[in-house]
Symmetry: C2
């Protein structure tokens, strides 16, 4: 082929593509999340990435719709899924008679959003979701089980201390209802959210601008300045003397959730109540969650979710209340990698590289490799004809922890010198002993 005709290989911007060593670490994190989800008995789901636009966009609108990858193929108007919740809603309505409720599923898969190009923003990214869907009703205790899953996931991922922040949307909604400010709720929440940046007096000004009366401003300020321990917060909430059914229901639910979270084994220092968390106004209806890494709060929430009244009203009359959480894995991995917080032990797939000194020792080398593989040791065999130095360098580059070189002596004695590539330590062992040594997880 003509050199000038080569096409420059490149990956689209906004699409994460990793080198093997990073991919191994990425997969390990993905796997940890999956294992915890399965340990809690969630069922796996793997819905298509392409769906009929009419179905996927039943609810969407505004910003989301603009970002969607939508196209025609033949006569079909198609979309790439932009989250895992809409496909879940479709799935549960479609198979409602075959599914067993409460339906507990996890799905880990790629979703697509054509976001504006920006560092650390991805157009293709993994979401790792779990949801519990009830048939007409769903006990509030489910809302307390989810934080214990978040706790176990982030404990095992080992990114340092984190805090699961919990709120109940009914408290905020009830507050605005009691102040007759439902219609300004979105604006007020947006203003409140800036308190750390612009300070209290500026917030008061902004609320005045959108015509919130002084008494209401006063209540809102009291509300958002509630602090202390979990119990103190509940006391101060009651002291606001807001007589609104929704508000009181929210507090009761939140108290239940807190009570059960402790039962589920989440230590008190790992969760808190944050009365300002709203997480969008049109979807969640009860408990809401956000999770922050204590040392890296600026990363934003690394795991969020909440309770919704009705998963699939666009597709079915059946009322399907649910509660769920989601981890945006691609972004999280990118961010943690930037700050060197991916402290995975695993940097290679192979545990050992078998090196024949020369090609005439290939048979012995193959036998040893086969024995190790049959005993569940990830083993690579250096097959190509290179100098021994290059073969060693290969193990080094791939960070394979052990090397075993096979030559004349090994063929005769059936004793093999196992070299630890990190410490340089060498040991002479029988093949059964090599298996034993490498199968011990350290």
């Amino acid at each position: 082929m003509d050199k000038s005709k080569k096409i420059e290989p490149r990956t689209l911007p906004g699409f994460m593509e990793l080198l093997p060593e990073s991919q191994i670490k990425f997969n390990e994190i993905k796997n940890t999340i999956k294992n915890v989800y399965e340990r809690y008995g969630f069922l796996p789901l793997d819905t298509p990435i392409i769906e009929d636009s009419k179905i996927l966009l039943a609810k969407a609108g505004g910003e989301t719709e603009k970002q969607i990858y939508r196209f025609n193929k033949g006569e079909n108007d198609l979309c790439l899924r932009f989250d895992l919740t809409v496909p879940l809603a479709k799935y549960v309505s479609q198979y409602q008679n075959e599914l067993t409720f409460p339906f507990r599923r996890y799905q880990i898969g790629k979703v697509y959003r054509g976001e504006k190009q920006q560092r650390g923003r991805f157009r293709e990214f993994y979401q790792c979701d779990i949801d519990i869907i009830g048939d007409e009703t769903l006990s509030i205790i489910n809302d307390a089980e989810l934080p214990s899953i978040i706790y176990n996931v982030f404990k095992e991922l080992n990114f340092g201390k984190f805090t699961i922040c919990i709120n109940n949307r009914k408290i905020l909604n009830g507050l605005f209802q009691s102040l007759k400010l439902q219609e300004s709720a979105t604006d007020i929440l947006r203003i409140i959210d800036k308190i750390d940046k612009i300070g209290k007096s500026e917030i008061v000004n902004e609320m005045k601008k959108i015509e919130v009366d002084e008494e209401s401003i006063d209540t809102i300020l009291k509300f958002i300045s509630i602090d202390g321990t979990v119990q103190e917060k509940f006391m101060k909430l009651q002291e606001l003397n807001i007589e609104n059914d929704l508000f009181i229901e929210g507090i009761t639910e939140l108290q239940e959730v807190v009570k059960y979270i402790k039962m589920f084994g989440v230590p008190e220092e790992y969760f808190c109540i944050d009365l300002k968390i709203a997480r969008g106004l049109d979807y969640y209806t009860g408990t809401v969650y956000e999770t922050f890494l204590d040392e890296y709060k600026n990363l934003g929430s690394v795991c969020s979710g909440g309770r919704y009244d009705n998963l699939a009203e666009y597709y079915t009359d059946k009322k399907l209340p649910g509660v769920g959480i989601s981890i945006g894995l691609t972004r999280l991995f990118y961010q943690l990698n930037e700050i060197n917080l991916i402290n995975s032990n695993k940097s290679s797939i192979s545990n050992i590289l078998i090196i024949p000194m020369e090609e005439k020792y290939m048979e012995e080398s193959i036998n040893v490799a086969t024995y190790l593989r049959n005993n569940d040791v990830s083993t690579e065999l250096y097959i190509n004809d290179k100098k021994i130095k290059q073969k060693m360098k290969y193990a080094d580059k791939l960070k394979i922890p052990y090397v075993l070189i096979i030559g004349e002596d090994e063929v005769e004695s059936k004793l093999y010198t196992l070299k630890n590539m990190i410490t340089g330590e060498q040991e002479t062992l029988k093949v059964e002993e090599v298996v034993k040594k490498l199968n011990v997880k350290d």
Copy 2:
């Protein structure tokens, strides 16, 4: 919402979407394949599903191109990947300076082809690929390692006896070269392929129609009627007395591959030489593989691949010879499911369901569930307020193998009655004993 406005939830035709029980089995197969690939030390890769059309279509043409999902987003001309080989070619050329050669990678992921709608044909399907890419050269021994991977994958998948059929394209190419029939090669291969259907004399007629001379027809017939053991086939090949370098090179390579396949531990009854295998004419250049389930040959090859001279000539001047195999998992799963050959033991994620008799036993139930989970037992807790009968029915429907009911007695004695849902057997155990029992893999 108005009832009449509901959108009927449906999945696009040609897209596999499984109920949880089937999904569990599907994932188990996918996992087995992944585990064997990793046991051989292949590195994981996860390239984007969307690529720049210019790059993805560098080589494509004809039928493939028509099937491709291609669309614009903003100013970008994009495609969904239709296989995992072109993305690999892109990846290896793009990162050639960061990768270590031979580069051994696996990728398990979805690919997209807008095929004509047909039962058992999928537009979104998983491919499970491994490839070994050399830098300028790649030893023929690699061609023998791959069949041992196929052997281990299908042995573990336990779909019954199978045969890995091997050939070398140089033998066919050399044969046609020696007969000066290179230009008719495609047609002749197509005709040969029909021998079992239309018989020998009809094949002779068809070859005459495309003006193959009688002497050549005679040689071709001798060639395709070669049978016997592996050694007999090699003898009969030599007896054809074809003096063509490529032909002889092909035989030598095939002999090498056979010699090493045995060393890699593939029993003789699990592989054969099939001199008719060509696998498309423009890509593979040496060894080619097809794999058949002995009892279900009509399913076609369940794992195919081969050796190619140059992976990425469209993107780079670097010569990258390689050898690879691919399993089309979605289709395979569909086919095997149709004939009830998916004999997975696993039909649930949870190993046990904890049932509180009434809500007042929730705390004890949570404690037991937490203890089991902390000891790596997949555990589901029945949270919602239903009658005990319904709770048991839930375990039954989800095929959860064990159930543990918690009431007054259990809270007091800390002894729990573990019920085996399959045998009906009951045992009274301490929680530590429950862990022990459930952690034994049977």
